[in-house]
């Protein structure tokens, strides 16, 4: 019986730690050579205001299509790609997907028959602890036929980069490989992250700061996310994605008072979302919320401050259910409040709450 459980468990575990263990070569030299041949140096715009004028790319078609990061470097007519063997080739941007920080370049020399990545066969997946190599021309160390830099490390995590509170100043918001090597340096964007067996995992993204921990993040966008756009761009039938509206118009539609919640004065940078008062007969009152309850979660997201709470309220949809978790004393209590059908509109009598701007001491009672 226990055996059965464990077998199931093992299968479950498998689902995550599983990565095709091909090519148990004794040396990683073949891997390094193989990847180097498929990695190019991109030179373009920049050079001013400490903006680097170079980045990295990887070859995705024998005819000479190169995938790289969508950045200021590409913003020029004079785009040059230096191949692994040192040949200089002119290139132009064939298409881009800003939401994925992805761009595909087309090399102007049609004759080249380049070693290229096969986005079907060469791609793999990995979980925490999987050993990886990062290839890029960070700091523009390599020129001509010199090989780009190789870094070693492990996958630290496979997790979403962005939370709805915009922890990361990135346009890419999907799941990413976060690595424990310092891969994301100036010019490294567009490089590749591969397993030691030489399987392609992801494209190294542009430099990124995590605004929640104030640290630089090292990550790569999984190829699984990029494969389709790349292929479609090459095929010339790609539509750039629409930003999902909920993200773009983050105007507050609901306000605490509509639920009968009065928050404490928001005086600090990070005032905890303590409930100062509950309006009698309000949804909050019916749900049993009390003064001094601390609102910790809104629909599963941590609420770090009054401001975050107000912003989150702004995003909920009319007619749904608002799930809060509050701390009362040493207990966590889940509560649910119905969300009114009609969002707050400018016409409604002016309430002292001003969710858009950081509220000030005057905004309660």
């Amino acid at each position: 019986m226990i055996h059965r459980i464990l077998t199931i468990v093992s299968l479950l575990l498998l689902s995550l730690t599983w990565c095709p263990s091909i090519a148990h070569g004794q040396s990683i030299q073949p891997t390094i050579q193989r990847v180097q041949q498929r990695t190019v140096k991109v030179f373009g715009a920049g050079g001013i205001r400490r903006l680097h004028a170079y980045s990295t790319g990887f070859v995705v078609s024998r005819q000479g299509h190169v995938a790289t990061v969508w950045s200021h470097v590409l913003d020029t007519e004079e785009l040059t790609v230096v191949l692994a063997d040192g040949r200089k080739v002119r290139a132009k941007v064939l298409g881009a997907e800003p939401q994925l920080d992805l761009a595909v370049l087309e090399l102007q020399d049609k004759e080249l028959d380049l070693p290229a990545w096969d986005l079907e066969a060469d791609v793999s997946d990995a979980g925490p602890g999987t050993r990886v190599l990062g290839f890029s021309n960070m700091f523009r160390v390599a020129t001509g036929d010199e090989m780009v830099s190789v870094l070693h490390g492990v996958v630290a995590a496979k997790a979403p980069l962005a939370t709805r509170r915009g922890a990361f100043e990135s346009s890419y918001e999907g799941t990413a490989f976060i690595v424990d090597a310092v891969t994301n340096n100036p010019g490294a964007g567009g490089g590749v992250l591969v397993t030691r067996a030489g399987r392609l995992l992801g494209m190294i993204g542009k430099e990124l700061r995590n605004s929640e921990s104030n640290t630089w993040v090292n990550y790569a966008v999984p190829i699984s996310e990029l494969k389709q756009p790349i292929q479609q761009i090459i095929a010339g039938k790609y539509r750039a994605r629409q930003r999902d509206p909920d993200e773009t118009n983050a105007v507050a539609r609901f306000r605490p008072l509509q639920f009968g919640i009065v928050l404490v004065p928001d005086v600090l940078f990070r005032t905890p979302a303590f409930i100062d008062g509950v309006q009698p007969g309000s949804a909050a009152a019916r749900a049993g919320l009390q003064p001094d309850d601390l609102i910790l979660f809104i629909n599963g997201d941590l609420v770090q401050s009054c401001r975050v709470f107000k912003q989150s309220l702004g995003r909920i949809d009319a007619g749904t259910v608002l799930k809060l978790t509050v701390r009362r004393g040493d207990k966590l209590l889940p509560v649910e409040l119905p969300v009114p059908e009609t969002p707050d509109t400018p016409e409604t009598p002016k309430k002292p709450e001003k969710p858009e701007k950081p509220a000030t001491a005057g905004d309660t009672k």
């Binding site: 019986m1 226990i2 059965r4 459980i5 199931i8 468990v9 479950l12 575990l13 689902s15 995550l16 040396s27 990683i28 030299q29 891997t31 390094i32 040192g86 040949r87 200089k88 190599l133 960070m138 700091f139 160390v141 390599a142 020129t143 001509g144 036929d145 010199e146 090989m147 780009v148 830099s149 190789v150 870094l151 070693h152 090597a181 310092v182 891969t183 340096n185 100036p186 430099e207 630089w216 979660f297 599963g300 799930k323 978790t325 889940p334």
Partner: protein, 596 residues
């Protein structure tokens, strides 16, 4: 199965109000792991064995790592011992703040005095000598050309001066790139042909060793791409290759301020990727051998040249004065020649005030405080030399520590005695015989002058105060004057010259075995004396009458024993890349009085 169902039931309510949504499967695993007793599991023996091996190597290597302290312990860097008598390598930019004597800590917990030996400001290398032991643990030099990208390496040193107990910081990473060129950043300091690593090095690692996984010394860590986060590692560090340092080693032991080299020509990449000359000094030897603007560089120093960086990399690893083979092409005509590299800097630039920019190991200068400024803000003076070691440092212009040059001179010249005593050999020396071509010759070397009769011609070089060194016979680079230099050296040794010092070692004529090199200067005439490294035999010398002219290259072979004095049997003379003649000596006579 019931247990699993119970588990799942326990999981469900959590999953609903939780970021683990959707990965309920995972919860099962984690819950199970959570309820498991603390488990130990079998780590593959191969993994443990490899770990044990690495631990062993690391602890062995750590004993050779030096923590160098300067400015009363407020600054410093790292180094590595390379010989039992205490010679250690570090960065020039580590020692320059530390003065001629410094304190060094080893992993045995002991503090040792050390003295500066030689410096290479351009290559950012310094040789120091730890004192007080002749059995120092030391690293073994490896061959950095065997490194491959992806190889594991150890970096060891004293980042952020953390080693308050002198135990080095050991980091482990891979080679990220090879033959890297790092531009001089507002200084004469330039990293050529260096090793790029992702092994973590930080300020304070400077001068410390880079080891291969096997424990061989592969380089000296000195620099990093720190710009992103300001003096903190950001994934790219650079080490000076040990192979470059090997080429400089004897030069450094000479106690000099050593210089790097230039060809006297600059190169650029043509559209088609070829590397071509885009500027050349008319007075350079390269020019005299026929190199011109527009010529394509095929290979240099035996390495083919495919990029400007590569050219700089090749040039950068050799000391000035080495002879390198250059192959260049002009309209399909391929020319191959052997060139002596010129000095990269003027002496003043090296010894002078040009400062390397802040780098690992150098703490930023304290900012001048607002007025009024407390005197305490001033940089503390470098420590006074310890009494018992004062004698180990001798000041001399152009030298980091002339004491060590004196030692090397003694060593090299010790072999000379076996040539016999020429000091009494006044009067004229007459050497006569036939050249390899069969022409008779008679060479007379006397105080008043040097004469040569050869192929029915007579050549003469006067030797009174007024007389200039002549290019006699024409195209010989001044054979007659060279013979005079030879005589003074045999008879008077160093006393025969204005300047006389040990240079280091180099391959004889750029291709042969390594030989010790001494330099003599008399007026404008500069001679390079070559000695075999085993017995210290004088193998020959090059004599240059005037700067920027072709040398007269003399090579001795064979031996004639004439009442206790040893004379060469053949004297080969060449200049400007061609052999003039090879004089076979048959008779040597010494007579008082002047030559005719």
């Amino acid at each position: 199965m019931r247990l699993l169902r119970r588990l799942l039931r326990r999981v469900r309510p959590l999953a609903d109000r939780d970021w683990l949504l959707g990965s309920r499967a995972w919860l099962v695993v984690l819950v199970i792991l959570a309820v498991l007793p603390r488990v130990s599991f079998a780590v593959d023996p191969a993994v443990l064995a490899a770990e044990a091996k690495r631990i062993g190597v690391a602890s062995r290597l750590a004993t050779s790592v030096v923590a160098i302290f300067s400015r009363g312990g407020r600054g410093g860097g790292s180094g590595v011992l390379i010989s039992p008598d205490g010679y250690a390598l570090t960065n020039f930019h580590v020692t320059r703040g530390a003065g001629t004597f410094m304190k060094c800590g080893l992993s045995d917990g002991q503090l040792y005095d050390a003295v500066i030996v030689g410096i290479d400001p351009t290559g950012d290398v310094a040789l120091i000598k730890l004192l007080g032991r002749d059995d120092f643990p030391h690293a073994t030099l490896g061959d950095s050309d065997t490194l491959k990208v992806g190889d594991w390496t150890f970096a060891m040193g004293n980042p952020f001066l953390l080693a308050t107990d002198f135990q080095p910081t050991v980091t482990y990473g891979i080679v990220s790139g090879l033959h890297r060129y790092q531009y001089p950043a507002g200084t004469i300091l330039e990293y050529t042909d260096c090793i790029q690593i992702d092994t973590s090095i930080n300020p304070g690692n400077s001068g410390g060793p880079l080891f291969s996984a096997g424990g061989q010394l592969m380089g000296i860590n000195g620099r990093g791409s720190f710009e992103k986060r300001g003096r903190v590692n950001s994934g790219a560090g650079y080490a000076i290759s040990i192979n470059q340092i090997k080429l400089f080693m004897d030069h450094l032991r000479s106690g000099r301020v050593v210089d790097h080299a230039t060809l006297g020509a600059t190169v650029t990449t043509r559209e088609d990727g070829a590397v071509v000359v885009d500027g050349i000094l008319d007075e350079s030897e390269a020019y005299r051998r026929g190199l011109r603007e527009g010529d394509e560089i095929i290979s240099f120093g035996g390495r083919s040249v495919r990029s400007v960086n590569q050219f700089k990399n090749i040039l950068g690893i050799y000391p000035k004065g080495w002879k390198l083979r250059l192959v260049f092409r002009r309209e399909q005509v391929r020319t191959e020649t052997l060139l002596r590299l010129r000095a990269l800097h003027r002496a003043s630039e090296l010894t002078g005030s040009s400062k390397p920019k802040p780098k690992p190991g150098r703490k930023p200068k304290p900012k001048p405080g607002g007025k009024p400024r407390p005197p305490t803000r001033k940089r503390p003076p470098v420590a006074k030399p310890p009494e018992k070691y004062k004698h180990l440092h001798v000041k001399k212009r152009g030298f980091a520590n002339y004491y060590f040059n004196q030692q090397e001179q003694k060593r090299v010249l010790s072999g000379m005695s076996r040539l016999g005593d020429f000091s009494g050999a006044a009067g004229a020396w007459v050497l006569a015989g036939k050249t390899a071509a069969g022409d008779a010759f008679r060479l007379t070397v006397a105080d008043v002058g040097v004469g040569l009769s050869w192929k029915q011609k007579a050549y003469f070089q006067e030797l009174d105060k007024a007389s200039e060194p002549l290019d006699e016979p024409k195209g010989s680079g001044g054979l007659l004057y060279a013979m005079h230099m030879w005589r003074s050296f045999l008879a008077k040794r160093e006393k025969g010259f204005g300047e006389f010092f040990y240079l280091g070692s180099e391959p004889l004529d750029g291709v042969g075995a390594r030989v010790d090199v001494m330099i003599s200067e008399l007026g404008n005439v500069r001679c390079r004396w070559y000695f075999d490294r085993k017995q210290g035999r004088l193998l020959g010398f090059d004599s240059q009458r005037v700067e920027e002219t072709d040398e007269c290259e003399i090579r001795f072979s064979g031996d004639i024993d004439l009442d206790g004095r040893h004379w060469p049997r053949t004297i080969r003379v060449s200049s400007a890349g061609g052999v003039l003649a090879s004089f076979g000596v048959e008779t040597v006579t010494m007579k008082a009085g002047a030559a005719q």
